[in-house]
Amino acid sequence: MAKTYFTEDHEWLRVEGGVATVGITDYAQEQLGDLVFVELPEIGRKLAKGDTAVVVESVKAASDVYAPVDGEITEANGSLSADPSLVNSAATGDGWLWKMKLANESQLDSLMDEAAYKAHIG
């Protein structure tokens, strides 16, 4: 059963079998506005929690998306190269950013569930 977690930096993680699919929340995409480019990570890259994994670019600005936990990139959402606006239209679905194999599943304990995240954004 997949379980979904949220971070204070407005990312979501859907974890299944030790692999997390990561994206930004609907709140985050709304704040960023229309995305025009997503700089995707290399497969196999090892990330520590807090490292910049992806850069999302709106018409006006570039913003970093951080690795919410330690792990290794196993997949990047290639469809964003052709259509970065998927992040705006389906932030928690087809607009996912990358998948990563978790290095330390206990790090998930410090993340929020959906109810806590909703309270976080008010």
Partner: protein, 366 residues
């Protein structure tokens, strides 16, 4: 978050009601986007009519027997040669010919002029103008106005519907259609359009009337920036600074030959010697390959890795469908088609020097 010193637009409540997202710019809390978002707003202004609240900008009424002489000193301009209602794009220059601000000056009468200045420089501009005014028989009066821009192919028709006829007014001309109103056919998008300064009470009625029209939609500062960048227009503070002269900026077209020759304006000597030596750098358009935007601050290098210049404005052009940027390069590299690279977070993005504007201007010149 905005600090205590942040200034608020007189019509802020209307923007809030329209669902604007606000952000800080030049000391003001400004509507950045509205619910349609920057992409749709940008395209709407190109296709129909965009309404912009630009009340952060400053209007100065300059009047008196010495008005033209003051402006001729402050700007590389022959103010007395302007016809009534004629506008001119010009600058305040410092002694080194650095651009203190870029402005539009309109002649409203024999010895009456309107000066429209940028928000970020308004305080500096006023100080500068007042200091110079001491030597002339002239008054400099900052006006308390709401300042609106309506831009796009339907702008004139929307104004007509709202009771403002613009028929005989051509690009870069300005008039006073009503008491305490100032309207010029000008803008910052490359489209046909108008900028209108008016008292707040009038502005509330006027905006309500304009927005009854489906062709008219609020446009935020984010789209204002992408529109002006596609149009190849400079933003002071980025593309123009006190370190940059009009020759480097490719804006010598704004300085009449006779004015340059007579050399009565501040910075004339410095500008003459810059032109004799050759401008040290040139402003150019930059078209990045692919979809990744190249933004202000990025370094430009040539194919051999030598420094070639830097980017001063960059983003995505919703109308062009690709990233667009402007910057300064070594004059030897300024020819359109020259291939350079921009360093974006360590990745070298190929960029071509491109002719400006990226989107053709559609001004109504006659």
């Amino acid at each position: 978050m905005t600090g205590e010193d942040t200034r608020h637009l007189p019509l802020e409540d209307l923007h809030q009601a329209a669902g604007a997202r606000f952000g800080a710019f030049a000391g003001w809390s400004m509507p950045l986007t509205y619910p349609p978002g920057v992409m749709k707003e940008h395209l709407h202004a190109r296709e129909h009519a965009g309404l912009f609240d630009i009340s952060h900008m400053k209007l100065f009424a300059v009047g008196g027997p010495g008005a033209a002489a003051l402006l001729n000193r402050a700007c590389p301009l022959d103010a007395g040669a302007l016809e009534t209602s004629q506008s001119k794009y010009t600058f305040f220059l410092n002694e080194a010919a650095g651009i203190i601000d870029d402005l539009i000056v309109t002649r409203l009468g024999d010895d009456r002029f309107m000066v429209v200045a940028n928000a970020g420089n308004a305080v500096e501009d006023e100080k500068h103008l007042r200091a110079l005014a001491a030597d002339f028989n002239v008054s400099v009066e900052p006006l308390d106005r709401v300042f609106l821009a309506i831009q796009g192919p339907d702008a004139w028709a929307a104004l007509a519907r709202a009771g403002i006829e613009t028929g005989s007014l051509l690009f870069m001309h300005g008039v006073e259609p009503r008491q305490d109103w100032f309207m010029s056919r000008s803008g910052y998008t490359g489209e046909d359009g108008f900028e209108i300064g008016l008292p707040e009470a009038d502005a509330r009625d006027f905006v309500a009337k304009l927005l009854e029209d489906d062709r008219v939609q609020w446009i935020g500062l984010a789209a204002r920036d992408s529109l002006r960048l596609e149009a190849g227009l400079c933003l002071h503070g980025q593309d123009l600074t006190t370190e940059i002269d009009p020759a480097s900026a490719g804006l010598m077209w704004a300085i009449p030959k006779e004015v340059r020759a007579a050399g009565h304006f501040i910075g004339a000597d410095a500008l003459r010697s810059i032109i004799e030596r050759g401008a040290p750098q040139k402003r150019v358009g930059l078209k990045p390959d692919g979809r990744q935007p190249v933004r202000a601050g990025a370094t430009l290098i040539d194919a051999d890795g030598n420094p070639a210049g830097h980017v001063t404005s960059g983003g995505f052009g919703p109308s062009t469908g690709h990233p667009v940027a402007m910057g300064y390069v070594d004059p030897a590299l300024a020819k359109p088609g020259t291939k350079l690279f921009a360093d974006v977070r360590g990745t070298k993005i190929p960029v071509d020097i491109a002719a400006l504007p990226f989107t053709p201007h559609r001004y109504r010149k006659g």
